[in-house]
Structures are given as structure tokens and as C-alpha cells.
């Protein structure tokens, strides 16, 4: 059996981390293919239901990354995201999701190397945690029920 | 020890980051005994910053660290809030341990030692015993008759007790002087 290849979705802000990941590219710094980026206007836009959706669709791990505190393009979006993350984090246990499956970080447009590092560490961490199927199973079950 | 390590060691022992010092000299400018010092406070800060082992050795052998009165003027006025008196405490203790006390400062050290010795014995300080202990320690420095003029005046004013006050819990108290805690890591 081949090694487990985790599926990791990165929810990133357009102004900092997306540009930071662009810099990773222009600097030709390599990282694992497992991480795939979805662009948001701001981390403040990221509804945590989207994270649950990602797990339900089979994601094994998630990265949420935006601007450093005080660097938000929209002044305060990242603070809202951070506050929401603190609340959401305490809910994770109840939801039965290992908190280590979600990596929350700040990566600026100038931190190309940091982005690669975060991507790689997350992949390694998730690889250790193993596949995550609980939510996917529930989702399949719910879909079946809905059809009946 | 190299520059970096000396700075790290000072930080570890005192919590003071000497790198903060930008050599404005306000500590020296306000120090009441700066004139008498062989190395001025701001110079000591610079030597720690850029110093080698040789420079550290020079600091530990300096007169300055013993002249410092711990009046805290430097610390209170320092724009960078650098706790220089705390660093001086550390330097003095190290100088003592390494046997590098400046010859001129022996009197001062003798006095402090006598002080602690008297306290160790009685729990409280007896000024008469302190004076006697100190005179014995500093015999060679020629201080024996220095305060002869003061003592009679003190006795006549009821200020010098011939029998020292003592505390009761001597056993508990002496524990403080034994088994000194290991150097703490922050």
C-alpha cells in the first residue's frame, strides 16, 4: 500500500498569504503538492462552516492564513478571523475534530519561505495524524438519507 | 566566553538586556560617585556589550562595582529602563566568587561581610558588634581608630547597645544561610 497522501485545503487571504505563496513560487521554494490554495478577499471572509464543509468533502487537514495582526488590508478582518478562530477552536473538541488538523497562521506577502515551511509542516503533521474520514462518512450518510 | 555569551549570561542571571543600552551616558551623568569611578557605568555597559573575557575580567577587578551605592538614580532615569544596579549586584557577587575584588574595595567588602556576619549570629544587627567585627577585618587598612570619636558620642546618646538584640527562632533563621539555592534558570 502506498503512503497516505493527505488532502489539505488552504484558505488564504488575497493580500498577504496568497501573495506570500506567489513569492514562494517566484523564489522557487519547493513544498508538498498536497496543499491546495483557495483565494479569499480577507481571512475575515472565512466562514468556519466552510472548514467543516471541507472536512465533509474529504479534507484531512486545513490551513487558514492571513495577514499579521495590524497588517490587515481592511484594518481589522484578521482580528475578526482570530476571534472567530478562538471560539471555533473550543468547539472543535465537541465536534470531534482534532484541533491539530487545522493550522492557523499569519504569512505576509514577503514571507515566501515561511509559507513553504507551514505547508510542509502541516503535511507532515497530518500525515502523522492519519486520514480523516468521520465527517466524510457522516456526509455520505446524510446524502443518502436526503435521497430517501 | 565570547561577547554573545557574556550578554546572554548577564541576561540569564539578572533579566537585564544590556543590548538595549545605546550609550547616551545619562546613568553616568547622574551617578553621585561617577567622579571616583575607574570605569563609569555607561562604559561598563559598553564593555559588556562589546567585551571579551579580558574586558569582563577588567570589570570584575574594577573599583566601580564596589563604589556603586545602589541609589538607583541611573535606573530611574535610564531612557531604556536598564536596571544597572541589578547588573552591579551580579558583577559584585561574581567578582567576590572569582576572587577579583579591587584592593581599594576590600574595606567595603569587609564591611558588608561583617554586616552579614553579625546578622547571621544574632538575626539582628548590633552596631557595636558590627563595628568590632569590621575593625578586625579591616585591621590592615588602618581603620581601627577611625571611628573612635564617634563611638563615645553614640554611647552617651544611648545609641550603642552593649548587649546585642537577638531573635528567638535561631534555628529557623540559620536555615536561610545554609544550602543556598542553585543559580536559577529563568
Amino acid at each position: 500500500m502506498s503512503e497516505f497522501e493527505p488532502k489539505i485545503v488552504a484558505f488564504v487571504c488575497n493580500w498577504c498569504t496568497y501573495a506570500g505563496a506567489d513569492l514562494t513560487g517566484t523564489s522557487r521554494i519547493k513544498y508538498a503538492q498536497n496543499v491546495k490554495i483557495i483565494r479569499f478577499p480577507c481571512t475575515g471572509r472565512i466562514d468556519f462552516m466552510l472548514l467543516l464543509k471541507a472536512f465533509a468533502e474529504g479534507a484531512d487537514g486545513i490551513i487558514v492564513s492571513g495577514c499579521h495582526p495590524n497588517d490587515c488590508h481592511y484594518t481589522s478582518g484578521n482580528f475578526h478571523a482570530r476571534r472567530r478562530w478562538i471560539t471555533f477552536r473550543s468547539l472543535l473538541d465537541f465536534l470531534g475534530i482534532d484541533v491539530r488538523r487545522i493550522q492557523f497562521s499569519w504569512v505576509s506577502a514577503a514571507e515566501g519561505a515561511k509559507w513553504a515551511e507551514i505547508a510542509n509542516t502541516t503535511v507532515n503533521n497530518i500525515r502523522e495524524l492519519g486520514p480523516y474520514t468521520d465527517y466524510a462518512k457522516v456526509a455520505v450518510h446524510l446524502k443518502k438519507e436526503a435521497k430517501v | 566566553m565570547e561577547t554573545k555569551n557574556i550578554l546572554i549570561e548577564v541576561k540569564r542571571q539578572t533579566g537585564v538586556n544590556i543590548r538595549e543600552c545605546y550609550q547616551c551616558g545619562k546613568c553616568t551623568a547622574g551617578c553621585p560617585v561617577a567622579e571616583e569611578m575607574d570605569l563609569r557605568p555607561s562604559v561598563i555597559m559598553r564593555m559588556i556589550q562589546s567585551g571579551t573575557n579580558e574586558e569582563m575580567d577588567q570589570i570584575l577587578r574594577s573599583y566601580t562595582i564596589w563604589l556603586c551605592l545602589t541609589c538607583e538614580t541611573c535606573y530611574s532615569r535610564c531612557p531604556m529602563d536598564i536596571d544597572i544596579p541589578k547588573v552591579m549586584d551580579y558583577l559584585r557577587q561574581r567578582s567576590l566568587v572569582e576572587g577579583k575584588v579591587h584592593p581599594e574595595a576590600r574595606k567595603i567588602v569587609a564591611f558588608h561581610k561583617s554586616f552579614l556576619n553579625t546578622v547571621k549570629r544574632n538575626g539582628r544587627l548590633s552596631e557595636l558588634f558590627l563595628t568590632i567585627d569590621y575593625k578586625m577585618r579591616s585591621l590592615r587598612s588602618g581603620t581601627l581608630f577611625q571611628d573612635m570619636t564617634v563611638a563615645p558620642g553614640m554611647i552617651s546618646r544611648g545609641k550603642l547597645h552593649l548587649i546585642p538584640e537577638q531573635i528567638k527562632d535561631k534555628k529557623g533563621f540559620s536555615r536561610l544561610f545554609k544550602n543556598q539555592l542553585k543559580k536559577r534558570k529563568p
Binding site: 497522501e5 488532502k7 485545503v9 496568497y18 505563496a21 506567489d22 514562494t24 513560487g25 517566484t26 522557487r28 519547493k30 513544498y31 508538498a32 503538492q33 491546495k36 490554495i37 483557495i38 483565494r39 479569499f40 478577499p41 480577507c42 475575515g44 471572509r45 472565512i46 466562514d47 468556519f48 466552510l50 464543509k53 471541507a54 468533502e57 474529504g58 479534507a59 481592511y74 484594518t75 481589522s76 478582518g77 475578526h80 472567530r84 513553504a116 | 545605546y22 550609550q23 547616551c24 551616558g25 545619562k26 546613568c27 553616568t28 551623568a29 547622574g30 551617578c31 561617577a34 567622579e35 563609569r40 557605568p41 555607561s42 562604559v43 538614580t73 532615569r77 535610564c78 531612557p79 531604556m80
Partner: protein, 667 residues
């Protein structure tokens, strides 16, 4: 049914070297809803764009996905191409195959698979894209300039000379600001008032400028091109039309011992006063807090002597609303509070003064008519000590930054003193000499070499008085940290430049950001130094950070140019990436429940209320409404909304959920 076109770019070999582009195009072609897919060496080139345009027309494409470099690079290019082919530009998306895939991974099947996933994700997204149209907003071509110092004066004149209207408001009775208080200016030693007053007059006479002194900004609503400013015009207690500025009232006023703000407390003024002889407008105001009539109900001497009957004791503050398209903030700076220097005895010893006070002593229009005399006894000081960095670069006093101007003005002060008192001795205690402007270094060297100013490197610890002398206890760090004691006749503190009191509230009133020291923040420290984070509001001068005159004037002209650019358009168009509250047919009208969580989340105050009424005008429902002019499109409100009633165009819930699903469902 969607008809999507997918265009895979090789980017020379940048993408094709690690990603099997042919396979990606092939796989994309199999995807549901994809009507056409191809790959090409340079999609952004003219022929590449032609392929896209042709296919839009030929295949009747409803959406386009270009898989190439980062959208931050070429999104505008491809959107423009789509638009030229008749497709709404917002129906085009880009998959980032270069920066996020080919450049960061080695050549492998997994890399190609990732590329396929990314393309699929955007194909699914595009299916939910809606045609969007840039938002047009009209522009009111009047600028509001706040602050009548040199920054505000320069900005006002530049805007007015470019043909636009300006309203200049100033909180004090006269314009001129700190520059009017200065004696000579470095590095040329030309007289400050001589170069400033003509400009002040020009402001007052310019047909495009409305000058409102003794006025403050009360409120600012609206958005770029369409601000509504409320200005409080404080009661001057005179009828400005009748007053001729003869000055009789000020000479007769019995309250004469009020410390003069203009003279930095070194001289006195009356309760009805003109701050200085060259004031613009040259008409007095009554300072109510010190006026006998206002405080005790008796006096009215000014009213009795006024030949034109211009005094109006019952005048009240006026609130004036004006519409403006842009705002230039030029509120300047202040010097640090005296109480911060207990060790230097400031406030305790009369002869310890600030740099600004020294300017007044050295100024020909000052309380000593330009002679350097001690405030305590009027004697000419034979020894002066200047202390640089009094407060600046002093985190313990709360100011870690360099005030930038002090090195230069202190050198100038010492020079002026040496020129006026030939047998005098001057000392400057300094930490570094920062003379980084044009002709600045030459200037400080001249002070040292030609004018024999004694520079001593070290800070002063204490200043105290003994036997009528000020004893300065300093140190010379260049001489092995030797303590230095100077018996001085006068001590001048180069006290730090700080933000104006109240600047925090003003920033909040305008919704612009400010830094830890309450200076206003520019939008970008390098590339947007005069813009603020709020579109349409610009910065000029020392309200942004301590600055000297040349820099202030440059920035003011820069801000004016930005305003002129804005006013060169009749309408503004903005990216339509804004939030929208849904509306539906009755009886629901909208799923919005009116909780206004969105309004709490919004950093731009872009969310207001909308009342839905029936035909009779009864309110049926209160819902949130987004002002597209203010909305910047961050989408924080969307994540906050409990009922999923607010959504953001271009990053809608539908689109984002689809992206997540498409990315993970690799069949």
C-alpha cells in the same frame, strides 16, 4: 447550461516543464459544462488572447478559465480580453498553475494532478459567477483641508490653483501654524515669517479658497467623492463683516495677563485678541474662558470702544454642513508636555525653556524683539546649554522615535545665539547628529567649526538651580564617560515632537488609522505615503510623523496632486467586489432579520439600515443595506451573518462552497 472555455498556458516552459499541460487541457475538456479546452505556449501574448476572444465568439462561451500565472499578475489582462469579445469580464477566472504549482513542485504525476484539481475548482466556480458592472460614483469637486499650517496652506493653494474649490478650516483664530512661530529656518537662515506670510495672504484672497478659522471638524460621513463634513464654527464673538481689524478693542481690553499661545507662553495677550500682528484673518476673537464679561458678567469695554459696533456677545457656535469630494488632513504636531521633564526642572525653573520658546525669543516679532533674554530676569544669558533628544528616543518617556527636526533646529538655535551674543558660550548635549537633508550636514558643521558651538556627546541627567545658576549635570561619552558640570544661565530643551492632543478622536471621526503614537497612518509606508486607508482622505505634513518644512511642503503638494487626479474625473468607477443583502419577493422581502451583526463587523461603516414599507408607508421590516460606495469588499460581514442574508459579489457563498467541493472531489 454553462459553456466554459478552459485555456491552459505553458508560460514558455515555466509551467509545461513540470506540469503535463496537454493532459490538463484534456482532462478539463471532459469536465461537465466545459465547451472548449486548449493549451498554448503564451496565453498572455497577443495571439494567445486572440484564441480566447475567438473561442468566446465561436463557441458562445459563458465563462472562461485561464490556467496560467497568478491572477495578481494577469487577471486584468484576461478580463479585458473577455470584455473585448463581449463577455462580461467578471465571468473570467484564473487558475494559478505557475506560482502555486509548477514553480513549487517537481515534475510528477502528482503535480499534474494538482493542476487538474485547481482548474476543476475554478471551472466550478465560474459556473456560479455572475456578470458584474463597475460601480460608478459621482465626484464632488471641492476639497476640505483640515489645518492651516504650512502643510494645509500649500495643499490648499495647489488644489485651488488646479482649478478646484477648497474649504480650509483652522482651529485657531489665524492660519500660519507652527511655521509662523519660527524665527529663522534651517539650513538657509531665512526669516520664517517673511516667506510664509505672503502665502497666508494668498490663501485669504484666492477666489477658489473658502477660509474658515476658529473652526473644527465635527463629523465626517460619506465616502470618496461624496463626503459630507460638519464643521463647527466656534463663536468669535465678533461680526467679521463689520470688524475692520483696527485693533482698538485689543489695546483697551483690561484682561492683559493671559499667556500668549503664539509666544509659547513667554508673552501675554488680552482676552480679545489677534494672535500675532501678521495674522490672517487679521480680526480678533474673544477667548471666552478669560473674558471678564463671559466669566463675571461685567466689562464690555471692547463693545464700548469698537467704532463699527462689531462685538457680538450673544454669538453662538455654528454647525455648517458642506459636501466635499476629498479631504486633506494637515493638522500638524505639538511639542511634548513640560511635566514630562522633572529631572530637567522644566516648569520649575523659568530659564529652562523648550525649543519652541527659544524660537520666540530669537524671533524679531517675539516678546524680546529678537534679543535672547532670560525669561526670569530679562538678562542676556552668557552661557546656554541645549539638550537634544529631550523626550525623543526615550522609551521611558513613551517616545522611542526620533523627532527628526531637533538636531537641525538646535544647531540653528546655537548659531542664532552665537550671532546675537558674541561673548556667549553655547553647549549642545547630543546623542547623534542627524543631518540627513540637503545642505544639512554642512549647516551643522558650520555651527561647530565657524560659530564655535560646543557639541558634547552625552545626555544630561539633571538640571538644578543653585545661586542663580542652572547647574547642568551631563557627561562626555567621548572622553571615557567623563562627568561634565556646566553652570548655565539658560537651558533649552529640544523637546520631542508629538501628535496633537485630540488627534486620536479626530482619526476616529474620519475613520482613518493612526499609529501607536497617535500620528495618522499612511496607506503604505513606501508607495502610498500621502494616502490613508480610507479612499479620498489624504495626509500632509507633521500629522503623519515629525517633519521639517521642505518635507511637509512636498507632501502637501503630493496630497494636492492626488486630490487633483481624483477631481479630474466626473465619475469614479470601482471594482464591484462589494457585499449585497439579498432581497426577495413578499412576504419575506429579505432573509435579513435586522440583527446588524454585519454592521458591527464592518470596518468601513458601510452598512446602514433600510426600512421596507408597504404602500401606505408603514414599516414592515428593517433590514441591513450596504452602501457600495463605502464597501471595500473584505467580506467580514458575510462570515458574521447568522441568516446567510448578506453575500459578497465575486466571493459568494455559492462560489466558495463550490470551490471547496470541486477541489476535493477528484472523482
Amino acid at each position: 447550461m454553462s459553456r466554459i472555455g478552459v485555456f491552459i498556458c505553458h508560460c514558455g516552459e515555466n509551467i509545461s516543464a513540470t506540469v503535463d499541460v496537454v493532459k490538463v487541457a484534456e482532462e478539463a475538456g471532459k469536465h461537465e459544462g466545459v465547451a472548449y479546452s486548449t493549451d498554448y505556449k503564451y496565453m498572455c501574448s497577443e495571439p494567445g488572447q486572440t484564441i480566447i476572444k475567438q473561442m468566446i465568439k465561436e463557441k458562445g462561451l459563458t465563462g472562461v478559465v485561464v490556467a496560467a500565472c497568478s491572477p495578481r499578475m494577469h487577471e486584468p489582462t484576461f478580463r479585458k480580453a473577455c470584455s473585448e469579445a463581449g463577455l462580461n469580464p467578471y465571468m473570467c477566472e484564473m487558475a494559478n498553475l505557475r506560482e502555486h504549482c509548477s514553480w513549487v513542485h517537481d515534475k510528477s504525476d502528482a503535480t499534474t494532478k494538482k493542476a487538474i484539481d485547481l482548474v476543476r475548482m475554478l471551472v466550478e466556480k465560474v459556473k456560479f459567477n455572475k456578470p458584474l458592472y463597475p460601480i460608478k460614483v459621482p465626484v464632488t469637486k471641492t476639497a476640505l483641508v483640515i489645518g492651516g499650517g504650512i502643510a494645509g496652506i500649500q495643499a490648499s493653494l495647489d488644489i485651488a490653483n488646479s482649478g478646484h474649490k477648497v474649504v480650509l478650516i483652522e482651529k485657531d483664530p489665524s492660519i500660519g501654524g507652527h511655521m509662523s512661530q519660527l524665527s529663522e529656518t534651517f539650513p538657509t537662515l531665512d526669516c520664517s515669517q517673511c516667506i510664509l506670510t505672503p502665502r497666508m495672504v494668498e490663501v485669504a484672497q484666492h477666489p477658489n479658497i473658502t477660509l474658515m478659522t476658529y473652526s473644527e471638524l465635527e463629523k465626517l460621513d460619506g465616502f470618496i467623492g461624496n463626503f459630507k463634513a460638519t464643521i463647527r464654527k466656534k463663536a468669535k464673538s465678533i461680526d467679521e463683516k463689520l470688524c475692520t481689524g483696527c485693533g482698538l478693542c485689543t489695546t483697551k481690553c483690561p484682561t492683559k495677563k493671559i499667556p500668549s499661545e503664539f509666544n509659547a507662553g513667554l508673552g501675554f495677550r488680552t482676552a480679545i485678541y489677534v494672535p500675532f500682528p501678521q495674522a490672517v484673518p487679521n480680526k480678533p476673537v474673544i477667548d471666552k474662558e478669560n473674558c471678564r464679561y463671559y466669566q463675571q458678567g461685567k466689562c464690555k469695554v471692547c463693545e464700548k470702544v469698537c467704532p463699527t459696533g462689531a462685538i457680538r456677545f450673544n454669538q453662538e457656535d455654528e454647525l455648517i454642513e458642506i459636501e466635499v469630494g476629498a479631504v486633506v488632513v494637515a493638522t500638524g504636531f505639538n511639542v511634548m508636555e513640560p511635566s514630562e521633564f522633572p529631572e530637567y526642572g522644566y516648569g520649575k525653573y523659568k530659564d529652562v525653556i523648550t525649543g519652541l520658546q527659544f524660537e520666540r525669543l530669537a524671533s524679531a516679532s517675539g516678546p524680546t524683539l529678537g534679543e535672547i533674554r532670560r525669561p526670569s530676569d530679562g538678562k542676556i544669558p552668557k552661557k546656554i546649554v541645549f539638550i537634544a533628544c529631550a523626550g525623543s528616543r526615550d522609551p521611558a518617556k513613551g517616545i522611542p522615535y526620533c523627532s527628526k527636526i531637533c538636531c537641525m533646529y538646535t544647531a540653528k538655535h546655537a548659531m542664532l545665539y552665537q550671532h546675537k551674543v558674541h561673548d556667549g558660550k553655547s553647549y549642545i548635549f547630543y546623542m547623534d547628529i542627524r543631518a540627513g537633508g540637503k545642505n544639512y550636514e554642512e549647516f551643522t558643521r558650520r555651527a561647530i567649526v565657524e560659530d564655535e558651538v560646543n557639541y558634547i556627546r552625552g545626555r544630561v541627567s539633571k538640571v538644578y538651580e543653585e545661586n542663580g545658576k542652572l547647574i547642568v549635570k551631563g557627561v562626555d561619552t567621548l572622553l571615557n564617560a567623563r562627568p561634565v558640570e556646566i553652570e548655565a544661565d539658560m537651558v533649552v530643551l529640544a523637546s520631542a515632537a508629538v501628535a496633537n492632543p485630540g488627534s486620536e478622536e479626530l482619526a476616529q471621526r474620519m475613520h482613518i488609522s493612526y499609529d501607536a503614537y497617535n500620528f495618522f497612518s499612511e496607506a503604505h509606508p513606501k508607495l502610498k505615503p500621502v494616502e490613508t486607508n480610507t479612499a479620498g482622505i489624504f495626509l500632509a505634513g507633521a500629522c503623519q510623523a515629525p517633519k521639517d518644512i521642505p518635507e511637509t511642503v512636498s507632501q502637501a503638494s503630493g496630497a494636492a496632486a492626488k486630490v487633483a487626479i481624483l477631481f479630474s474625473q466626473d465619475e469614479l468607477s470601482r471594482e464591484p467586489v462589494v457585499a449585497v443583502v439579498n432581497r426577495s419577493a413578499p412576504p419575506v422581502y429579505s432573509t435579513c432579520v435586522g440583527c446588524f451583526m454585519c454592521a458591527t463587523a464592518c470596518p468601513y461603516q458601510a452598512i446602514g439600515e433600510e426600512l421596507i414599507t408597504d404602500r401606505k408607508g408603514n414599516v414592515i421590516k428593517k433590514v441591513a443595506k450596504v452602501n457600495p460606495g463605502l464597501c471595500q469588499g473584505c467580506g467580514t460581514c458575510v462570515a458574521f451573518c447568522r441568516s446567510k442574508s448578506i453575500d459578497i459579489q465575486g466571493y459568494s457563498n455559492e462560489q466558495m462552497y463550490t470551490e471547496v467541493m470541486a477541489l476535493l472531489n477528484d472523482e
